[in-house]
Amino acid sequence: MKILLACLEKDSKAVISEVFARAAYFAVYDTDSMTYTYLENTAAEASSGAGVKAAQEAIDSKATLVVARRLGENSFDIFKESNIKVLIAKKDATLEELVKLALDKKLETMLEGKVGFHHA
């Protein structure tokens, strides 16, 4: 299984990003190899539809689980449509801590996206 988390540094000891679609990187943790790979988030610079593009990158990375502080409506809807489960990350937790919590089933499932993070 692959778990995807948004982050600002390519470091599993770094704290999770507060935002999802406009975070600098996505960390993908592979539970088989127990390694992290990092993807540049090209959606961070998008002038429009960053939430859609970021969710697209997550889907294309073959992740089946996403851990995030919060998601915009569009990202959330795409994960829902694709049956990708989203768990709510604890504030200021590191990627490693969150992966462990996710695997131990200690994180709550996100039930809705938030409106209003995009500009008009």
């Binding site: 960053a50 859609v52 449509e81």
Partner: protein, 279 residues
């Protein structure tokens, strides 16, 4: 058909105040309320609504039986309005109605269908004045199609455009075909900063431009007046900061009807604009 656009860098400077009073004194005039997110020019006039027409924009619709899930539409959309989750998924609120996806779809699976985004209401005030108001539907993100629909029609007489605030896409659409831009600003540092943004926009579009200073107070040094001298922009009207004017306006009346001398003042503003346009 002369088009005068009334705009400002920030909200609340008095675009509607100037637009409505100016329209009120022009002998044959159509006032177009382009502030489609919160139109309110019509509130200053009595009359009867003669029609209300929907405004539509095109959104893509996918015929799933023709779609081969090639992903080209999703990969090509520069607005990121189409996700691909094994099949394309369209986000209408992000779509900019450019039509690229239906144009490039190799199997012809994407057609463009009309979606109502707002409407235009016509208020007949008198033989001399008609007010056309653009309304953007709730939850819609872009009022551009409504402004485009309002401004692309032919009208009798002079057209006054009450523009949306700011200098973004909406304001650009509103001034696209204007012959004269009237920039309304307060005489404060905040308003001046925003004024410079719309002035720059007006210059970018190569428009003849003039200034109205609204809610003018005396005794403070004015960056706006200095700037206008430096850049040779005519100040066509100064409206004082006055409780009486505020009271008349906030009760939904026009000072060109209610306050002595203002019919003549706005008539002079109009003739001064005509002179500037003729220069």
């Amino acid at each position: 058909m002369l088009k005068i656009a009334v705009l400002s860098g920030k909200g609340g400077t008095g675009k509607t105040f100037i637009s409505t009073n100016l329209s009120n004194v022009i002998s044959k005039c159509t006032l177009l309320d382009n502030d489609v997110e919160e139109p309110n020019s019509r509130l200053f006039f009595d009359g009867s609504v003669t029609d209300s027409l929907g405004v539509f924009s095109k959104v893509p619709l996918i015929n799933r039986s023709l779609c081969n899930n090639c992903r080209l539409c999703s990969d090509s959309c520069r607005f990121n309005a189409i996700a691909f989750i094994g099949k394309p998924l369209i986000f209408e609120n992000i779509c900019h109605n450019c039509g690229l996806c239906s144009y490039i779809c190799p199997t012809g699976a994407i057609s463009e269908v009309d979606k109502e985004v707002g409407h235009i209401e016509t208020l007949k005030v008198s033989e001399n004045l008609t007010v056309k108001t653009g309304f953007l539907n709730l939850l819609e993100e872009s009022g551009t199609p409504i402004i485009e629909a309002l401004n692309s029609q032919k009208y009798e007489g002079t057209v006054v455009i009450d523009c949306p605030p700011g200098s973004s896409c909406l304001a650009m659409e509103a001034i696209k075909d204007s012959d004269f831009n009237l920039l309304v600003s307060e005489d404060t540092n905040f308003s001046f900063d925003n004024f410079k943004a719309v002035y720059e926009l007006s210059m970018l579009f190569n428009k003849k431009t003039g200034i109205v200073i609204n809610k003018k107070t005396t005794g403070i040094s004015s960056k706006l007046v200095e700037f206008s001298r430096e850049h040779n922009i005519p100040i066509l009207l100064e409206v004082p900061f006055s409780k009486e004017i505020a009271s008349i306006t906030s009760n939904g009346h026009l000072i060109s009807n209610r306050l002595f001398g203002y019919k003549e003042i706005f008539t002079k503003l109009y003739s001064d604009i005509l002179l500037e346009v003729a220069k």
